[in-house]
Symmetry: C2
Subunit: 192 residues, 2 copies
């Protein structure tokens, strides 16, 4: 999508100002100029690290789920494991790490299912989706500080139905399941 | 997912502090206490309005697409129309409004396909997905300020393939297409 054209010219980025910084993100005001019209404006940009979400299948083909309290919505949320990718860390390695830290599941084959921009309008980061096949519980969870996670597994078809029925509401989890569903269809097999 | 349990108790929200405010969002630090452990911490929360994205089908069953420069990623992005829901505005009405403002397409039947939390960990808002069938170009676009939008249509199957191949990367657009695909399957028809 990297194409600039006379009808849709690339905007020119100017000065950036940090409005606030927290442990997990930096809020910026970024100045842009339109190369043809010459108009200028400041835009809100959330700068943050890349994220990873993991579709982990146990040997029976069940998806590993986590349920935890989420501060953004002040409520519980049913999700797949995931978290922040560390600087220089490979997305697949990060996925394996988050899976084991949050759920104690490890092992099996792992690869990248796909990647998205959580919100290209206002965020600069990507979120990667990792598929792990044949993951088994080793029991070595390592929760961060106040993290508290309820773990479960469910058949893949049930999880996909929950994604479409509103029982799972996290947009990035839905994207991971969207990619997973496409991958499964391409494999021509039913894992439930 | 509103269930608190002895193993996974609901956290108790305390004082909130505004760290920064821009035209489109408010960055907050929110204090939470664990009801059992008594541990306390501050969490980053982005407070913002609800959003809407629109899967609009023309009479031939082609999906209406928009391509525009996105400041978050400093690049162009291929998406479906969408935007911010105004205070008190119905999501379906907001979807029709954004569709017409951005693309000039209007008319037809419209309803809610589904709703998600863009990011329950750090954002308090929802994003709604609206399906419009039989939309036609009336020509009355109304772009905001510096908005510049390239419009096109493509067969639904092609758009779904682009969503899985990485040509479309906006996570909320992928969620809308995930719901659309489920809806289409439930209808038992192929709109391409």
């Amino acid at each position: 999508m990297n194409t600039s054209s006379p009808e849709l010219p690339r905007r020119v980025r100017g000065r950036q100002q940090t409005l606030a910084k927290t442990r997990i993100l930096e809020l910026r005001s970024v100045h842009y100029t339109h190369p043809v019209r010459g108009t200028e404006a400041d835009y809100t940009v959330i700068a943050t690290a890349d994220w990873v979400n993991v579709v982990a299948l146990d040997p029976a083909g069940r998806i590993v789920l986590v349920r935890q309290f989420r501060y953004g919505v002040d409520d519980f949320s049913l999700e797949i494991p995931g978290g922040v990718i560390e600087a220089g860390e490979d997305p697949v390695a990060a996925g394996r790490r988050e899976l084991e830290e949050e759920t104690g599941y490890a092992g099996g084959q792992a690869w990248l299912l796909g990647s998205v921009h959580p919100n290209p309008a206002i965020q600069n980061n990507r979120c990667h989706f990792v598929l792990v096949e044949g993951a088994t519980p080793t029991g070595r969870v390592a929760w961060d500080g106040d993290e508290e996670i309820e773990r479960s597994t469910a058949p893949a078809d049930e999880v996909l139905a929950w994604a479409r029925s509103g029982r799972i509401t996290h947009s990035l989890v839905l994207c991971a399941l969207f990619y997973f569903e496409g991958w499964r269809r391409a494999q021509g097999r039913n894992l439930t």
